[in-house]
């Protein structure tokens, strides 16, 4: 495949960022919006084309004679060389998951670009301050995210990993005058930075022992004829490298496990897994389209993508996979419980995102080649795809509602179904999909995940089914509270809420349509951990499906009973379990814990003492030297009295002593 189109996929967003960032303020708002959207549109077409060629052209670069999909490095440029083989390269790796991610990112990004044209204006069509800026930042984000998914080596991934973090920082802090937005953006950056520290150390360990950064070397499952790869050979070979290292076991884990767990820590940060999840709910301070793009569909799944990318390595050390499973399962339950109590609709969606990403993590954690040909891997990627679509849809709907009502709080919504019919229907489709109702896309992907959990054991299966039920419950709680509950009251002097202009409505409809049909994509044919395509319907377990469907329907019915009409039942529920409700409502006090750690321990316990130590002890020592020198000179200053007679005395005594000494010596 020629490198032109892949280069353009990366270059266009980068160019748009520089162009809009530097020249944006010299053009009209409308112009900036159109240019930004058009740029993304072109990228979208190119990405679709690339994905199409990869999946369906059948050229020997991409698929071998047996029909297995191959990894193909389109180009790979040396960027920074450390050692002969240890080179950071910037390149473009095409394989099933990167091609799929290209589609996801460009689709959502284009929708968001389009949507922002409408969202970033007020009701009179006046553009918000900084309209050009958001397009520049969105382009930067798209560039970074695309660079991340097509990374040919782990360091390229780290580079773009940092860049998406930075663009996320810029976008969360878009309303930089608001202190809450500023602190949210800071929190997001620092928490993910902390996670990236683990990622970095993991990379260092991994690259030190294997002597390469390249994915194709590390996970050489199915590599196309590739001039760039050194090819370390089989999994056994890599295992041997680690087993023969100087310190094969460190604190109870093998070095490879440590490397993989540390790398996963980076993924935990970006994908908001417990306990590094605290930044994501706050990140909702950003504009809603941004939340849809970054904090629902693309950036937050980077952690999942990372694990998927290194999946063959993870398979070598299943301890790391077990850890991923546990972290994912706990996070899924935690986030789902919290989501049941939140008032802010974007927060509910944020926690729902955390919970859904945890589903993907669990799915990767339980995936084993022995069971259903590694179904979990495919399920995870499938869920990533469908989730990106329906969660972006839900966020964009939420954006439309917030734009119409002017508040994030559902108490100021209620009964919007008559006012905003399009939003209502599309939101409902999103809810049905996330709840896992046939035939919407979420049903299929979630069902695959539950199947693969079942393959791993009963515990993860029951646990995740329960969480799936909770998911259906809180999503429909949200749905009923927004669109039903009671008639909508319009505050004095406000407009009636209504469906938004076409730039905002069209993306909703498109995404809803995708959500309706995405479940029927034969995903197993396209994506699998080793490139071998298979029919996942063969692994479709109707008993699992019907159980999960039943759970979802029951949960929806409960939600309906509780929230469809105004009634005292929710109040009763809350009073029945006050402690649980309070803990959930306060998100199990994680934020308070972090505040305590950062402010009380790190700032007051480490930084201030160090600053004090520096000013008083170290500086004091240096000043002490100066002080002693000064004092000493003052002390001997008295000798230089300026009194001649004193000098004469001293002189005479000296002469006498000298004479005496001389006399004694002579005698």
């Amino acid at each position: 495949m020629e490198a032109t189109i892949p280069v353009l996929i990366l270059a266009i967003p980068l160019f748009m960022f520089l162009f809009l960032g530097l020249l944006g303020k010299f053009m009209s708002h409308k112009m900036a919006g159109i240019l930004g959207t058009a740029g993304m549109g072109v990228t979208l077409l190119l990405a679709y084309f690339t994905a199409y060629v990869y999946f369906f052209s059948g050229t020997p670069e991409f698929v071998d004679a047996a029909g297995n999909r191959l990894q193909f490095v389109v180009f790979n440029v040396d960027w920074l060389q450390f050692y002969e083989n240890l080179v950071i390269r910037l390149g473009f790796l095409l394989d099933p998951i990167s091609a799929m991610m290209l589609v996801v990112i460009t689709t959502i990004s284009f929708m968001v670009h389009l949507y922002s044209n409408g969202y970033m204006r007020d009701h009179h069509g006046v553009y918000e301050h900084g309209f050009q800026r958001i397009y520049a930042f969105l382009a930067l984000f798209s560039f970074s995210m695309l660079g991340l998914v097509v990374a040919t080596n782990i360091f390229q991934m780290y580079i773009f990993w940092e860049l998406v973090g930075a663009s996320s920082y810029l976008l969360i802090g878009f309303y930089y005058v608001k202190p809450s937005a500023v602190s949210a953006s800071k929190k997001a950056f620092i928490v993910t930075r902390f996670a990236d520290l683990g990622f970095l150390i993991g990379i260092l360990i991994l690259s030190y022992y294997t002597g390469t950064f390249s994915f194709t070397d590390l996970t050489s499952v199915n590599v196309a004829t590739d001039t760039f790869a050194v090819n370390l050979g089989t999994a056994d070979h890599i295992k041997n490298i680690f087993a023969n290292s100087a310190v094969p076991v460190f604190m109870g884990g093998s070095v490879l496990t440590w490397a993989l767990v540390l790398i996963f820590m980076g993924g935990m940060g970006k994908s908001a897994m417990l306990p590094l999840h605290i930044w994501l709910p706050d990140a909702m301070e950003g504009p809603t389209p941004v939340s849809a793009l970054i904090h629902a569909a693309t950036m937050v799944v980077a952690g999942v993508y990372l694990v998927a990318r290194l999946f063959p390595l993870y398979l070598m050390e299943t301890t790391a996979l077990e850890i991923i499973t546990v972290v994912g399962a706990v996070t899924a339950l935690y986030a789902a419980m919290v989501a049941c109590t939140q008032l802010d609709i974007k927060r509910v969606l944020a926690f729902s995102t955390i919970s859904q990403i945890a589903f993907m993590m669990v799915s990767l954690g339980v995936a084993r080649p022995e069971f259903h040909e590694g179904l979990g891997y495919m399920a995870s990627m499938f869920h990533l795809f469908t989730h990106a679509m329906f969660k972006a849809l839900l966020f964009l709907c939420a954006g439309a509602i917030i734009h119409a009502v002017g508040s994030n709080d559902y108490t100021s919504m209620h009964g919007l179904r008559k006012h905003m019919p399009v939003t209502h229907i599309t939101f409902l489709i999103g809810c049905l999909a996330i709840a896992g109702i046939i035939p919407f896309s979420g049903f299929f992907s979630k069902d695959e995940i539950l199947s693969s959990c079942l393959g791993h054991g009963w515990v993860p299966y029951v646990w995740m089914s329960f969480v799936a039920g909770l998911t259906a419950f809180y999503m429909f709680r949200l749905y009923f509270l927004i669109f039903w509950w009671k008639e909508h009251k319009v505050p004095q002097g406000h407009h009636q809420p209504h469906d938004q202009a076409w730039p905002m409505t069209v993306p909703l409809v498109i995404l809803a349509a995708i959500t309706c049909v995405a479940g029927f994509i034969p995903f197993g044919k396209l994506v699998s951990w080793d490139g071998v395509s298979y029919d996942f319907m063969a692994h479709f377990d109707w008993s699992v499906a019907s159980v999960s469907l039943l759970v979802a329907v029951v949960a929806i019915l409960i939600a309906m009973k509780m929230y469809m009409k105004e009634n005292p039942l929710p109040e009763k529920m809350r009073n029945a379990l006050p402690a649980l409700w309070t803990w959930c409502y306060h998100r199990f006090y994680w934020d308070e814990l972090y505040m305590f750690i950062t402010h009380k321990i790190i700032f007051n316990g480490i930084c201030r003492p160090i600053a004090w130590f520096d000013r008083h002890i170290i500086d004091g020592t240096m000043d002490g030297f100066a002080y002693v020198t000064n004092k000493a000179s003052y002390a001997i200053r008295g000798l230089q009295s300026g009194k001649i007679q004193m000098y004469v005395w001293v002189y005479l005594i000296g002469v006498l002593l000298l004479g005496l000494v001389t006399a004694i010596c002579l005698l």
């Binding site: 300026g642 009194k643 001649i644 007679q645 004469v648 005395w649 005479l652």
Partner: protein
């Protein structure tokens, strides 16, 4: 009675010691100046005496003394001029009280 060199040197020594004593103990500048002159003259005597007794054929000691006397005169004039000026501004010529320029 033979007049030896000692007859000259002992008075000169006494004179010198008086000068030193006066220079150290006196606080009055005039008195210090006088003491200084005493020491100077004691030294002059020594010059002449050593010249006379040790190298009678040479005259350097004599000349040196003459120079010293001339310089002492000039120096005394200068010193007294300074002292008078100091007295005019400070109304005082005691060295222990004149510390204005020290700090």
């Amino acid at each position: 009675m033979d007049i030896t060199i000692l007859y000259y040197l002992v008075p000169s020594l006494i004179m010198f010691c008086c000068g030193v004593y006066g220079f150290i103990t006196r606080r009055n500048m005039i008195a210090m100046l006088i003491s200084l002159e005493l020491m100077l003259n004691a030294v002059d005597i020594n010059f002449v005496v050593f010249n006379r007794f040790l190298y009678p054929e040479n005259m350097e000691g004599m000349f040196f003394t003459l120079f010293a006397i001339a310089i002492a005169a000039a120096e005394t004039a200068l010193a007294i001029a300074i002292i008078i000026n100091v007295f005019r501004s400070a109304k005082n010529i005691s060295v222990s009280d004149l510390s204005k320029m020290k700090h």
